[in-house]
């Protein structure tokens, strides 16, 4: 039997990696993938707590998080394509003007 804390530590590591990637990466697509990594870390803690308290609503919430992540990925990647079309770069350091 695995203690709940092991799952929580793993989820914390994944979330921390996502935060670090969000902060240090320069490619806008990689930054977006770091956000997905953070969502995955949160999902793991949701499922771990659901198993701990025998409450299945935690797993339903993971389903909702996944739906929101899918919607977010679709819109976010569309925004990335729009940014690339106008700026012709994926480096966030060069996307620093609101107006073209």
């Amino acid at each position: 039997m695995i203690p709940l804390s092991y799952y929580l530590v793993l989820s914390g590591i994944l979330f921390a990696c996502g935060v670090i990637g969000f902060l240090i990466k320069r490619n806008i697509i990689t930054i977006f993938m770091s956000i997905e990594l953070m969502l995955n870390g949160v999902n793991l803690s949701f499922v771990a707590f659901a198993a701990q308290w025998h409450a299945l609503s935690g797993q339903v919430f993971v389903f909702f998080v996944m739906v929101v992540a899918a919607a977010e990925a679709a819109v976010g990647l569309a925004i990335i394509i729009a940014v690339y079309r106008t700026r012709e770069t994926l480096n966030v350091d060069q996307v620093n003007l609101l107006k073209l």
Binding site: C17, M33, L56
Partner: protein, 174 residues
């Protein structure tokens, strides 16, 4: 015992993939390591008895979303990113602070924890149970998410769609 072995193996794959995502400089390598993270997370979900969530993790996350990512990376022909120089404060102050904080949190969590989880083979989160919950207790949120998906589809089409001829062309000199 088998629980712990499986957890350790796939947890190690998870952490290695997450670290590899940070280290790699080409986005396609980062995307592939993220797929490895998601697939091994599905095994962790199965260990917790969440059968439905594990299947959805593989189908939606590792399948649909990551295919979208890889597709966009290929479409935009994303090259290697240049590395930025980290500040000296981050090296001398931030990294030790992160290590100390992480160890502290992990130690506290391990000190206070129960050990109840699903037995191997017991699947409390079977699709039937989750579906019953989803269509009885969570019916309204479920319908609202369908609306959200619809709005997201329309937003994606509007944002990524080709601008009509006559509208302003994307500036190439800017």
């Amino acid at each position: 015992m088998l629980h712990l072995v499986l957890f350790t193996i796939f947890g190690a794959i998870c952490v290695a993939g997450a670290v590899n995502l940070l280290v790699q400089r080409h986005p396609i390598n980062s995307a592939l390591s993220l797929i490895a993270v998601m697939a091994s997370l599905a095994v962790e979900y199965l260990l917790l008895g969440a059968e439905f969530v594990a299947a959805v993790q593989v189908i939606i996350y590792a399948g649909a979303i990551m295919v979208l990512f890889v597709f966009v990376i290929m479409l935009l022909n994303a090259g290697e990113e240049e590395r930025t120089k980290g500040s000296r404060v981050a090296t001398w102050f931030g990294i030790p602070a992160v290590l100390v904080g992480g160890v502290l949190v992990a130690w506290t969590l391990i000190q206070h924890s129960g050990t109840s989880d699903a037995a191997l083979g017991a699947l409390p989160g079977a699709p039937k149970t989750i579906g019953w919950l989803l269509f009885h207790d969570f019916l309204l949120p479920f319908e609202v998410t369908s609306l959200l998906i619809l709005i997201a589809i329309m937003g994606a089409v509007v944002l990524a769609g080709r601008p009509e001829s006559g509208a302003q062309q994307p500036r190439s000199e800017g």
